[in-house]
């Protein structure tokens, strides 16, 4: 079983190749070039680096969001092109699931945070004590304050008293988080602060085993947010 994983939902672009549960190559870049320029050459290098081609793949995993609208469409369009041309199944992975999966086996609640601009975060709260983090909330687009309130609520419900924060959404609001959560909060190691295509591949493998597959016609982005214009037309008022 060979899975190609693609992620370009945040400023990071990553591509990984996983063979029967073993990560055999990963490329990661968080620097200057646009995803449009970097992604396809990365896919090509990762495959060639393992003497593989598209025809060797069992499936393609891709982050479908939340994240930068344009970024996740670049990754998803790339996955769709491969999926359609090669008739391989596609595995849509929630970006927050992938980010949370950087940490497992912890008593703390896992709090992946992606910078969603406009003073908001994309986040969800996970139980980290399983072999694969378990989402305890929906994926949200919310203010840092709303995130903290939600995290404290979930902690009270679950009888937990500590949090691990990770993701690029931590940095713009770190003073606020430290103030609000104090000693109950720790930060992931720097190399675990960003989504990794390797984690996307692992989650993809689980989906493939469970038969949770889609094709190029079905798979859609998971934006959480409406477009600005739709909000203005009043479609976002719940």
């Amino acid at each position: 079983m060979l899975i190609l994983a693609i992620d370009s939902a945040t400023p990071v672009a990553g591509v990984a190749l996983m063979e029967k549960g073993n990560l055999i190559k990963e490329e990661f870049v968080n620097y200057k070039k646009t995803h449009s320029e970097s992604l396809m050459p990365m896919i090509d290098r990762v495959l060639r680096g393992c003497d593989c081609g598209i025809s060797d793949l069992s499936a393609v995993a891709v982050t479908i969001g939340p994240g930068s609208f344009t970024g996740l469409r670049i990754g998803l369009a790339a996955a769709k092109g491969i999926g359609l041309a090669s008739a391989r199944p596609l595995l849509g992975i929630n970006t927050l699931d992938a980010l949370a999966y950087n940490i497992i086996g912890s008593d703390a609640l896992l709090c992946p945070l992606l910078d969603a601009r406009k003073q908001e975060l994309y986040t969800a709260i996970y139980d980290g004590s399983y072999s694969c983090p378990l989402a305890l909330t929906e994926s949200l687009a919310c203010s840092p304050k709303k995130f903290v309130d939600t995290a404290l609520e979930v902690a009270a419900e679950q009888g937990k008293d500590s949090f691990i924060l990770l993701g690029n959404g931590y940095y713009p609001y770190k003073d606020f988080f430290h103030e609000a959560l104090g000693d109950s909060m720790t930060i992931a190691a720097e190399h675990l602060m960003l989504p990794r295509a390797a984690a996307v591949a692992s989650l993809g493998m689980r989906k493939l085993e469970k038969g949770e597959i889609q094709d190029a016609f079905q798979i859609r982005p998971f934006y959480i947010r409406l477009s600005e214009a739709e909000y203005r037309l009043g479609k976002g008022v719940f």
Binding site: E37, F69, F217
Partner: protein, 337 residues
Amino acid sequence: MKKDILILGIETSCDETAAAIVRNGEDILSNIINSQVKIHQEFGGIVPEIASRKHIENIAAVVDLGFKEAGLDYRDIDAVAVTNTPGLVGALLVGLSFAKSFAYTLDKPLIAVNHLHGHIYANFLEHRNIEFPAVSLVVSGGHTSLIYMKDTGQFELIGQSRDDAAGEAFDKVARFLGLGYPGGPAIQEAARNGKAGLVKLPRVFLDRNDFEFSFSGLKTAAMNLWNKVKKGSNCTVNDIAAEFQAALVEVLVEKSIGAVQKYQAKSLMIAGGVAANEKLRTMMKNRAQDEGIPLYYPSLLLCTDNAAMIAGNAYYHYIHGHFAPLDTNAYPGLSSL
């Protein structure tokens, strides 16, 4: 016998998700256009983020249908062509990213096509033996450009709009007059029931000895005029629409004819969404006939955005071996012609 070259074209630069397969730059085997006009109508104009969202939803189905209609398998094509400039960058990136991985998977070359070149080459899908040098007028919601072509594949921008594109002016004036969106067809329809010349609007830049355009002033003049006459005059909104259309078309026609004469071109082509305008087609035909200039314009379906024109233009890239690398990017502006 020469082998046929089959090219898949993909176009997502604005609000149409389109795919087509063209043989040898001439024969359209399929031409699928998924228009979002109805969706954007609700917003009174094109919303870039919504356009991108529709493109990513529809792209696989549109491309697949392109093959089905042509009766071909994915592997039968010789290359994948895609628009990468100009246009809405988020929209372009969907088509480009898809095209790259689709081509890569099939191990076929990728061809990056300039959308304006595509519009011009729509003419070659329907007309044979167009002679060079030629002058092309590309008029759409995004562009008003006069282009001199010394030979096939050679493009020299000789003039363009300094402000609004012709189609943009149509849209804005139509919205102001309450005629709806998209503005081109709305104004054309209103103008049919109105009379040009009852009131007078300016022919901007017509007196100038160059090939520049400006439609922002004409647009404002039309709006001001309507504000003035709508209170107690027998001049109707249809008359304003007719005069606005006449003023805009006259400038397009005279500048185009002027360019052909100055550059001693052997043919004149018009292209782009506004080239579907009846008034423009008729006036241009009459003037070209008077001056003895061979005039070409595409059928209505090929005036608006489509992928057949992209696949058509790509054929000329193909035979010259102009292929695009995997790190090709999308560019919203007209960085180069």
